[in-house]
Symmetry: C2
Subunit: 504 residues, 2 copies
């Protein structure tokens, strides 16, 4: 495995993200360091990075450099954005970074910054076309994605630190100041938004948005507790923004879900986001937990041409499988048998290609819980599936895959508290799919690929499943028969499993 | 990593356990296959393995062989115990296993079987001296452990299948039959128990015992839900045995926690165990989740001399660390700083060597949750610590280590439902230790070992911690200062963190 350190010197926050990866094969976020640098502090209209934030920025870079050296990170890529880009002494900062922190800093243009953000979205959310915004401390990037490709965009000087410094001095801010901020944001956004397409999903990123989404999500008791892919309603955001705007900063620090060190700039951040959604005429924003940093990483993971995962959903599932239980012979074979059952029994279950894809995905990762312990590995597996975002899948799909893993061995499917992410009819679909997966798993009981294929005979209220093998598959036939009850109940039929022999 | 397949052809159950390992370094249970073979079925007094169980046994071995071939297992070791050992046609079975299943079967003597069981206990429970019993389907092994070494023992023909066949024909069994069984067990046990030491812990293993413990544990709502190391009270076991004895087998199949395929032999099994505890004058039995299979595996893991882990508790922690987050430079350094703090602040906290060991253990594995995701890795870490038995540690210790991992970054320690495994005063101890660990973690904030040592100055109601470094450790000093609140609250003092310079 190679390692890459991505240093993102943002205007509010500096971060080092460490990824380990094998190009095109798998990756994992190993570590993250975060420092609040608040670079635009005291900049005002002067355009000069002041001494204190200048030193804070260098200190953060020194820490990250020292981490990368001590941990022998193979490649380090460091970028700076709005605050350094705009500062009249930005070049001096870049020189100081090289000389005093040993970090070679690329200063990204607004378009480059927007482009990498869009790349992160294309490699982590199941959207082909979208408007993407990234609200940082210094600027906001606004862009659009068409067919997963960057279709233009750039930076707008509406960052949360910058807007706080320019408009919201009081604590709490005066209504008049908020009004002035709102007006300013509208004026700046109007011409930029006019260039963007309408009627497609809006995806948002950045620390302020993640914090706001976190507050709304935790108050609503929503599960899964994952920000990436969460659909935040504009109305909920407006209510929260109004609530925060009248609180003094000390009270905002104690709001559950907000970072304490972001309490001072969150009001301005929330106003900018609310206005952006209004200007885009969007009722909700899909949160992207990935952003510029991940966008900068993808060229390492996918070095070819456009740095896009060729099949994002397939890659996500393989990435999980490879991390935790890389037994492709068994996993692939359970998938093959599950899909054969799905296809041959289609007249009985009537499920479509979406359900088929989820079944195939769950089959590949049904055993990942063994990384925690063999015993109860179905429970551990669900924990691992739900433990982090599954790029390319909606929360609903992720929950269904998690529950399929959970019920691949035994038990009657229940929603386990994730019902809020599901749609009407999903529990029935889940039960049928779990019944198919369970049968496939036990048809591959000895993990030796003895059952080479299946022939399903559909009769009146009864299905006979002929397990085709060249040699002995007695245990598979018996065990699959014993585990066929779930499928039988889901379809309201009788299921028989019998041996069938292939010519040797 | 090498792989070893251990085939244990027991009298009731045949199992293949697959372990992956690096000798002396780490191991993990990768997989397990289980088949009910019920070898003594119909044997009665004849001493002959009947045709049906004979074929079931061969079929299980063929399945396991086929698994090992398909999965390219490096070494396979297969053993048979009581049923084959006692059968007059045992040699024919061994020959058939070789010729018809491709499995070379070692038939263990009663003493060898007891010896491997004792080895499993010595490498998985924190007991130096113990009486160990292993109740199987054909026989029960009884032995003793002195200074972690096997100190003699062997097999007694009291297996659960054998006793069921010999005494408990009715459904439910007649009171008279139960009485006869009890008398028989007492008579057989008396001379064997007389040879064993008293007043030392009793450790039990085997599927019947695990099932019984599982029922008692799940009914009591006890957490952690781990069988290995669970202390099962004899009175609870007696009550459960009496309850099961009057139920028909069909009703026993639905008892939550019992394996359905063990419902017929569980009454005899419970009677044998209750009588054994009574004969040993023991109020409780410590459950060992490991047994013969793991005992047969340890010679692969620890090839030297006596196959004992030199320091079991240290090995368990390192094994976890190596599986999930093998960054020894950082982990070792957090441990070093945490123990320095512990030692220098001893006058303030007054904690002893047991607490010190737990702190050091938690420090080594505090980051393992990063294997699931960087975000919320403290929560994932606790999940992984509690996900399986931690050999050598009691449940109380495991919970304390898990909670230390959970609270190493933030939050005020709570017991999270594990209070039942803790002792009075543990929450205070936990808070102090979490305060120390958190400080150590942030004193190693950049994971570059910049803080080389500590000097603690104890004043009146205030502690000044001097972080000694050769270069720049500004971030460590600042962050540790910000995270010192938990320790300050635990000790009722003020904590200051300042820089101190070592000569360069």
């Amino acid at each position: 495995m190679r390692s890459a350190g991505i240093i993102d010197l943002g205007s509010n926050t500096a971060r080092l993200v460490v990824m380990v990866y094998q190009p095109g094969y798998r990756y994992q976020r190993l570590d993250e360091l975060r420092e609040v640098v608040r670079l635009p502090e005291g900049m005002g209209g002067s355009g000069i990075l002041r001494a204190a934030p200048f030193e804070r920025g260098l200190q953060a870079l020194r820490t990250f450099r020292s981490y990368c050296d001590a941990n022998a990170i193979d490649d380090v890529r460091a970028t700076a954005t709005s605050a350094v880009r705009q500062a009249s002494n930005g070049a001096a900062f870049v020189a100081a970074a090289r000389e005093r922190a040993g970090v070679v800093l690329e200063v990204l243009s607004g378009e480059e910054e927007a482009r990498y953000g869009a790349l992160a979205v294309a490699n982590s959310l199941a959207v082909d076309d979208a408007v993407v915004f990234d609200l940082g401390g210094g600027s906001m990037q606004l862009s659009s994605l068409a067919g997963r490709r960057f279709a233009g965009g750039g930076a707008v000087p509406l960052g949360a630190v910058r807007m706080t410094e320019a408009f919201l001095e009081g604590d709490p801010p005066k209504p008049k100041a908020l009004k002035a901020l709102r007006r300013h944001v509208r004026e700046v956004l109007a011409p930029r938004v006019a260039e963007l397409p309408r009627g497609i999903p809006v995806v948002g990123m950045g620390g302020s948005l993640r914090n706001l989404a976190n507050v709304v999500q935790s108050r609503s008791g929503y599960r899964p507790e994952l920000l990436h892919g969460y659909r935040l309603e504009r109305r909920a955001l407006e209510r929260l923004s109004d609530e925060l705007a009248v609180m003094p900063v000390a009270a905002r620090r104690d709001v559950k879900g907000l970072n304490r060190d972001r309490a001072d700039i969150i009001v301005a951040g929330s106003v900018v986001i609310v206005e952006a959604l209004a200007a885009l005429d969007a009722d909700e924003v899909i949160i992207s937990g990935q952003g510029l940093r991940e966008g900068l990483f993808y060229p390492y993971l996918f070095p070819e041409g456009d740095h896009l995962a060729p099949d994002l959903r397939a890659f996500s599932i393989l990435n999980l499988m490879r991390e935790y239980y890389d037994n492709p012979a068994h996993n692939d074979h359970v998938r093959l048998l599950a899909l054969e059952l799905f296809d041959q029994l289609a007249p009985l279950h009537g499920l479509g290609p979406d359900a088929r894809e989820l079944l195939g995905a769950a089959a590949l990762i049904h055993d990942i819980g063994m990384a925690v312990d063999y015993y109860a590995h179905h429970k551990h597996g669900m924990y691992l599936v739900m433990g982090r975002a599954l790029p390319g899948f909606s929360h609903r799909e992720q929950v269904l895959i998690g529950l399929l893993v959970r019920y691949h061995r035994r038990g009657a499917p229940a929603d386990l508290g994730f019902g809020g992410a599901l749609e009407a009819g999903d529990m029935e679909r889940l039960t049928t799919l779990a019944g198919l997966l369970r049968l496939a798993e036990y048809l591959e009981r000895s993990k030796a690929q003895r059952v080479r294929g299946l022939r399903c005979h559909l009769g009146d209220g009864v299905v006979q499943i002929e397990a085709l093998s060249r040699g002995d598959a007695e245990i598979e036939v018996r065990e699959a028969g014993l585990r066929s009850g779930l499928l039988a109940a889901a379809l309201g039929i009788t299921v028989e499993v019998v041996s069938g022999h292939l010519p040797t």
